[in-house]
Amino acid sequence: MSVEKITRRSFLKRAGAVAAAAAAPVSLVEIAWGRSDARNFTFAYISDSHLTQIKGTKFVSNFDRGLKRAIAEVNFMSPKPDFVVFGGDLAQLGKRAEIDHGLELMSALRAPVKWVVGEHDFYLDMGEYWAEKVAPLHYSFDHKGVHFVVLNSILTYEDWIRKWSTPEERMLAMARLDNPQGSPFMVGDAQIRWLRKDLAGVSSDTPVVVLSHSPLYKVFKPWNFWTDDAEKVQAELKRFRKVTVIHGHVHQVLYNQIGNISFYAMMSTAWPWPYPVSYVQVPNAVPKLTVFMNRADPHSERDGTGWGWLDLDSGRAAMHYELWENRPRTVRFDPKTGRPVDTVYQDPDKRIPPQMHY
């Protein structure tokens, strides 16, 4: 199934998106894609656009271009995705102007959007404008037999929230990834109680997909690749047979399996982040399972960025990373080993030199 899609994508890349929209053998793709099982469906994922206001109507054009390109490419998907998830950090400093600008760009999408809030959207006004204009901060929905839960995983401790003299100061402190004065993300007990209640009516054989901004496990605390109460959330998900967590925040290819839960990270449309292994002063817990994305070439503006789409085949995910300057990658759940594997690079002998980070 994925082979046809990748071919179509590669074709788009070569032909140029506009020309391809008219010329692509769309009907062939639909035949190859189509399955009668209603439980199989596709959704797209765009994340971490970090739209940055310079002054007035002037925004950092590099980051605008990333989001616009992802939107254009999602609009060319055929058949259309059932919906698009936005994985958080639409804005850089939570400003209304940035969120408005993001909403304007995103309004070009020809599919409904499911929004996840990120810390860059949140810490200026503690999510007030987001909740008013964009989406609730946490919610759930059902789609073709799959139960989706959207969590606000970027909350933190009250003492930290109160320690800043202005909202701008608080936002800047949280926006700095490597801030020694930062504070770990968490879901919080109130939301975990809500989650328990939400899941109470869901049978254990219903596939569950959780959408969060931060990874719901612990990778690297100094950069908040981390959720402080991740274990508590994992415990709530334990009784389900098929659980997938998809998150943003880390700006890189990252996947893991912990117990019954498969984790997949999304790319950013704005810029890539290094793997914590490349900061040698502090130990990290980067999952051994992950085959790293290629080291980004700084001279290429869109390298190390991209978007993704997932197909849910009988409740298990296959994550397709659309990498603008590199070959696309597919990481899918392997029922034999019970964990996500890269369909090309998982075998160490198949890896290529740029995947080595140091």
Partner: protein, 138 residues
């Protein structure tokens, strides 16, 4: 301090030493207090480098270095000088710092001996301390 200033300073010190004869022990001995002082001087420059590295004012569009390089990671100071295929030549870390200031940060390049450049280099290198030199590595 610029090179010619350093040179002037050195010559003046040399002249003073000659005038005093062998009375002062001179350049090859230093104390724990000296070490501490030099360490402090160095760390002050590292700290200034950290500030600049996280400042939206180094370039022209509010973007800062740490947005792509938290803790200066993925800068690999130990691999310079190395061939940069896009520049078509072997380049130094300072040239790459300027490339970043000019491109993602949309700013003006710094003179290579600018105190801000020295501070940025000090911070980047300090965050990578302990890693062995490996010039040319990709």
């Amino acid at each position: 301090m610029r090179y010619h200033d350093t040179l002037k300073h050195f010559m003046a010190a040399g002249a003073a030493a000659l005038a005093l004869g062998a009375a002062s022990a001179g350049a090859d001995e230093f104390t724990r207090a000296d070490l501490e002082k030099w360490r402090k001087e160095f760390m002050a420059v590292v700290q200034e480098g950290e500030r600049l590295f996280h400042s939206g004012k180094l370039g022209g569009n509010t973007v800062s270095c740490d947005m792509c390089h938290p803790n200066a990671s993925n800068t690999h100071p130990e691999t310079y000088p190395k061939f940069q295929k896009q520049l078509g030549e072997v380049a130094t870390l300072r040239q790459m710092i300027n490339w970043c200031i000019e491109n993602p940060l949309e700013g003006k390049p710094l003179p290579l001996d600018d105190p801000r450049m020295v501070a940025l280099e000090a911070y980047i290198t300090y965050e990578r301390r302990g890693v062995k030199l490996d010039p040319g590595k990709h």
